[in-house]
């Protein structure tokens, strides 16, 4: 339904519920704002957006006044101009606004308004020089002499990121005289340095410390890319001047993050300048790693691999693919293993395909942004606020707007205070705990009988299995108490649909994801507001699986054991005899190294020797260790050949986040030293082992190979990835992508499968 209004003498249409500001924006009429912050709903204080309307002598704030049918609004009258200018004049007089030396110069709402309104500081306001000092902060400069008290930072901290680190200071002036006013001072004990306040500060009061003096806004290239830190995959704008990163900001309104970043995404990009960066290829000569040319290093790797294959067969080579590198890198690595070396011994440790057996697709079911509107959320595992901070903001948003968080964590964490019901469980006991919940839900008859009957397999066996899982037994194994388990089970059954979230951490049990799948099938919650969300710790954990860096899956979740599929890949890759037998999982590699079954280990972007002492010991018996990484690691120090790889901001590519969203990663600076893109290195080795691959860029690899070979990605091409990316499955170029899987119980594998796990 559309209605009409008279805007500056012109009839324009608007949708009921729209504000004057929204209607004006839609009609192309500019109304200036300062405090308006769409994502939080914060508005209505600066009164810069005031307009005149027929029927009232007041000036109305356009940001918070809803348009009515036939309303007559004037946005740019003399009266409006005088009011706006008076506000700006007073603002200019009530702080120290020295634009010339300000980092916000050219990027400042107040400066823009002063310029547009030809304002000058009001003379009758008393000058003030009492500005509070901010605490010493590693990432943020707070200069309150420039603060205009618009409240946006408070809204960002309280309502968007939900950290409540900036206590709302407003209230009677008389009570604030001693403290010098209403400055939005952060509580260092609560601040998590997400920098959202800096993001939304319209003036120069809050700025990035590292960017101080680095570049002015008009001097930088702004490159839109995707964050490399965790599986949420937030959008970033990298501001680079002369090939150096000046700062990173969020992309307003973008998905999946809705314009948010966390401390990692915003401030932790120094690792690309680390002194530990691998700047040159290295080859081990007479026991010592020495700098080498790319040719020497690549030849060394290729010839040694060939030698070992010749002597011990292709299955004597094993590889571990990075869960942080781009899809195209992972694709080329598994292609090298399968098509050139001839083995399926390729794996990754991102572990994001754990729902494959239950539902038929190895991926989380729903979208992260959905969480903010969920009525109920069940979170289990590590501290989401620590591991996936931006996803955690969505959960906290849901609680803020009345949703209920039911949490099972490994101890008190930053999500605890938001939980309505909470259990503390032992790491690794997730399946036991969930079995206990399932047991209560079944024995008390609280499960969705129709859903289970119509959409699931294996229920009878599962019921028999969990009948042994009394709350008492689950309590004993998980450390939660039996009454809490009963209470949570009943609560889950009552408040459904429940969005289930799992945050795996080191030491989390293997059966957790499948157990959660069982639980959600009992609750029947598939579609919006439900599902099983697995939040990956690593940026491209999903992509590494999707690209076939797995012993049993080819790119696009296609089984190596399917002869027709294998044939398709044989043809596409110009080879014959791709191995049809699942390869060795990474978990078995250490044993095989010691047992002699594995002679060569190719490690890309991981540090198993640093993470696992037993692996380090086993690795010592390898004849060949190839290590490809951006930083020196324990593993690279043990390598025979080291291949320096480009970092996330140094090459083009794509990541796939925890919600199956394929997003572009873009080159913002030249690679450090001699580092080269990951996909290039694999291609070079393939060439030196006798195969010339046609694709000469990440773009070509995706468009010409990945999207052609994997039906799940058929409709995804680089052209379509310019904006917010696409969530697979996306079968054709007209398909918008799939925000939620298995809606209403229509599972990819036909019926959902109950899998008993301990």
């Amino acid at each position: 339904m559309r209605s009409t209004m008279l805007l500056d003498g012109r009839w324009v249409s608007f949708s009921p519920g729209q504000t004057i500001l929204q209607a004006a924006q839609a009609a192309g009429v500019y109304i200036p704002t300062l405090c308006y912050y769409k994502e939080s709903g914060h508005c209505d204080v600066c009164r810069i957006c005031v307009v005149e309307a027929e029927g009232t002598e007041k000036l109305l704030p356009a940001c918070s006044t809803q348009v009515r049918e036939g309303m007559e609004v004037w946005t740019n009258t003399e009266r409006v101009a005088i009011s706006r200018r008076r506000t700006i004049d007073m603002l200019l007089a009530s702080g120290r606004h020295a634009c010339l030396a300000c980092d916000a110069n050219g990027d400042c709402g107040l400066q823009d308004l002063a310029y547009n309104q030809e304002a000058s500081p009001s003379e009758s306001l008393p000058p003030t020089d009492r500005f509070p000092n901010a605490f010493d902060d590693p990432f943020i400069i707070r200069d309150y002499s420039k603060c205009i008290l618009c409240g946006r930072c408070i809204a960002a901290c309280s309502d968007v990121q939900v950290n409540d680190a900036i206590r709302n200071p407003f209230g009677r002036r008389e009570e604030h005289e001693d403290s010098g006013g209403w400055f939005p001072l952060p509580d260092p004990a609560k601040c998590v340095e997400c920098g959202q306040c800096v993001e939304v500060c319209p003036v120069g009061a809050l700025r990035e410390k590292a960017a101080r003096g680095a570049a002015r806004i008009w001097e930088t290239d702004k490159i839109r890319t995707t964050c490399p830190h965790c599986g949420v995959g937030c959008r970033q704008t990298v501001h680079a001047k002369d090939g150096k990163i000046a700062k990173i900001t969020a992309v307003p309104d973008a998905l999946p993050d809705k314009g948010r970043l966390c401390v990692k995404g915003r401030f932790l990009y120094d690792f690309v300048y680390s002194k530990d960066r691998l700047l040159s290829p290295q080859v081990r000569k007479s026991g010592k790693l020495r700098k080498a040319s790319w040719d020497d290093a690549l030849n060394f790797a290729a010839s040694h691999l060939k030698k070992i294959i010749r002597r011990h067969g292709p299955d004597s080579v094993a590889g571990l693919c990075s869960s942080r590198a781009a899809n195209e890198d992972a694709y080329n690595m598994q292609k090298l293993f399968r098509a050139v070396i001839g083995t399926n011994n390729i794996d990754n440790i991102g572990a994001s395909n754990t729902l494959a057996a239950s539902f038929g697709l190895g991926a989380a079911t729903n979208s992260l942004g959905e969480l903010s509107g969920a009525r109920a959320i069940f979170c289990i595992g590590a501290d989401m606020a620590e591991e996936n901070p931006v996803a955690a903001t969505f959960v906290k948003n849901a609680v803020r707007s009345g949703g209920e968080l039911i949490a099972a964590g490994y101890g008190a964490d930053r999500m605890s205070e938001h939980a309505a019901v909470r259990a503390v469980i032992r790491r690794g006991s997730e399946a036991a705990f969930i079995n206990g919940l399932a047991g209560v839900i079944i024995s008390e008859g609280l499960y969705d009988r129709d859903f289970v009957r119509d959409n699931c397999d294996g229920f009878d066996e599962f019921m028999a299995f969990v009948s042994a899982w009394t709350p008492e037994r689950a309590a004993e194994l998980s450390g939660a108490d039996a009454e809490t388990i009963r209470g949570i089970a009943r609560r889950l059954a009552k408040v459904r649909p429940v969005a289930i979230c799992y945050v795996p951490a080191a030491g989390s049990g293997a059966g957790a994801a499948a157990s959660l799948a069982n639980l959600q099938m009992l609750l029947g919650g598939f579609g919006e507001g439900g599902g099983v969300n697995i939040l990956n710790a690593r940026a491209n954990a999903q992509g590494a699986c999707d690209m076939g860096a797995m012993p049993d899956m080819l790119p696009g979740c296609q089984s190596v054991q399917d002869i027709a599929i294998l044939e398709k890949f044989n043809r596409a890759w110009g080879v014959s005899g791709l191995p049809p037998k699942p390869g060795m999982a990474f978990a078995d590699v250490a044993g095989a190294l010691v047992g002699g079954g594995i002679k060569a280990f190719y490690c890309f972007g991981e540090d198993p020797a640093g993470d696992l002492p037993a692996f380090k010991e086993a690795l010592a018996s390898a004849e060949l260790v190839v290590c490809q990484d951006i930083l020196a690691t324990e593993t690279s120090r043990m390598a025979h050949v080291v291949l320096p790889s480009a970092a996330w901001c140094e090459a083009d590519g794509a990541f796939t986040n925890s919600e199956r969203r394929v997003s572009r990663v873009r080159k913002a600076k030249e690679p450090a030293g001699l580092a080269r893109p990951g996909w290039w290195i694999f291609r070079e080795i393939a060439g030196r082992m006798g195969q010339d691959w046609a694709s000469e860029s990440a773009h070509e690899i995706w468009d010409n190979e990945i999207s052609k070979l994997a039906p799940l990605f058929s409709g995804i091409t680089y052209r379509r990835l310019e904006g917010d990316g696409i969530q697979w499955p996306c079968p054709d170029e007209g398909h918008p992508g799939t925000p939620a899987l298995h809606k209403g119980g229509r599972f990819a594998r036909g019926k959902g499968l109950f899998i008993p796990c301990e």
Binding site: D44, V45, C46, R47, I48, V50, A53, G55, T56, E57, K58, L59, L60, P61, S64, T65, Q66, R68, M71, I82, S83, R86, T87, M90, L91, S94, S122, S124, L125, P126, I148, L149, G151, S158, D164, R167, N168, P169, F170, G171, R172, R173, E174, H176, G181, W182, V399, R400, S401, G402
Partner: protein
Amino acid sequence: MTVFSTWGTDGPSGAGAPISFSQDMPIRALMGWSGLIISDESVDIVDMTREYAARARAESCGQCFPCRMGTEEMAEIMERICDGRGVMEDIDRLEAVAGYVHESSRCDIGLTSPHPILDAIYSFRDRFVEAIREAKPVPRGEYVCQVTAPCISACPTRVNIPGYVEKIRMRHWDEAIKIVRDTCCMPGTIGRVCVKDCEFKCKRGAIDEPIAIRHLKRVAADMELKAGGASVPEKPLKDEKAAIVGAGPAGLSCAYYLGLKGYRSTIFEALPEPGGMAAVGIPDYRLPRDILRGEAAMVEAVGAEIRYSVKVGEDITIPQMLEQGYRAVFIAAGAPNSSAMGCEGEDAGYRGYMPGVEFLRKVAFGEKPLSGRKILVIGGGNVAMDCVRSARRLGFTDVNLLYRRTEKEMPADPFEIADSKDEGVKFHTLVAPVKIHASGGRVTALECVRMILGRPDASGRRKPIPEEKSNFLMDCDAIVPAIGQSCEVDRFAPEGIGVNKNRTLAVDPVTMRSSVPYIFGGGDCVTGPSTLVAALAAGRRAARSIMDYLETGDSAPRPEDWLDKAVSSLSRPGHSDDAPFAVLTHRHHPPMTDPETRIHSFAEVEGCLSPAEAGQEAGRCLRCYRIAIAALR
């Protein structure tokens, strides 16, 4: 006599409503949210404008820019003029800034405070010109100030409602409850059972629905309990102590505010339980006893002692209290006796007949004072509703309420009426009792007569008149009259003390002092049966007078009392432009136990808004703060 007024006018230049304050009010001039009233021409309007601008500056909350910076600039200009540093352009500048603040601020502090300032400039520009020309300091006058709002003025305890509502919006729960307790010491109780006059005056109500002020108070109280309860500030105790008769809301409130200032008190309570009528008159399903006990404990924590089961007049007399060192006495004995119906047989002592107050008291102590299947309750007030709903919970299956007027005239809270009906209570209106029929000393039926409504009586309600020959019988097992309560203060108060016609204690309405200098009174024993919140207000007011008395030997109204009285008499006419084009919103409702479940127990029926709902509800508040200052004689 008003010599000049702009009150209630739109344009500052127009002639205002000729508000005149009564002779006993020593007000020379008043500046407020809707204009300027002058009774004494010699008042210095320039200095008074300075004071008003300074108050507006002090009250600005800093959120919206025009008010934050504009009130600062207005105050600065006036300060300059009154210091003798003004320039002629200041007058135009002040006018421009005031107009700017008035037309674009967010809440009434900014929207209304320029009003009297502009009135002063328009009407007395020559005096401003003169002050600037003389270029010397203007002598500073003395003023009293009150910051109020329609809701605050409607509340007997004058709780800063927009203040605590805003703290809830900001989720500053601790500060919210502190604001309530500043003037109302039983937030958990009042948050459950207040008659909420504030909500009827809420400006939001004229736009869509009033703010759920009572529910929000309850959320703040419950959040405090959840956080581990309130803490009591340490303070030195004084030697003087007061005696308080009755541990009802008035007595507890008086003791609390005495205690906050270090004055000790002893409360003598006839019942074995704190709360008075709030405990034994309001059933647990509306007000759980532990809430009341918790708030009484808070009163003890600030320094009061409560002696239970002590009947003043029998166990101890007021002269004995004086002998024991109490220097002042606060009588807050309530109105615990039932009024008679004037119905044949009500004094006969039949079994199955019991006055409502007695019935509720016994129920409150866990007894089941009446039994049977069918009960008749006579009355239309909240006590009658409490009786029918309690009867339902005691197992009466046929519960009937008889009222002599129509439902429209019932004094009970409309929600109470609706809740009673939900619980299956049958309403019979335009019916009055005539005679109780009994057999073997036990009631069997009530003879009633049908009524018709005649002309309005003194209460403004139409007077019910019996319809001739319309008598009929209603069978029943029990009859409970709940048509009013009374008290007998003269039974224990010293001889010769001023008593009203209805045997209530006569006190000064401002100081709460009786005709005996050391005796103060408040609550139902002064007003007759009234509201809980009125009793809390009376207790607090009495505490202040008692402290004055203990310190100076006298208690008299203070200047702010006159301003309060004047402000209460000034109602600003509603204005179409109060909230132009306001976004329509909906009030949040707390969860209620469904009727089928709740009639089986005395467990609390009404739930609490969730913190999220409370935050959203608080966000609906328009902050209708207004500022008034007065120059007194």
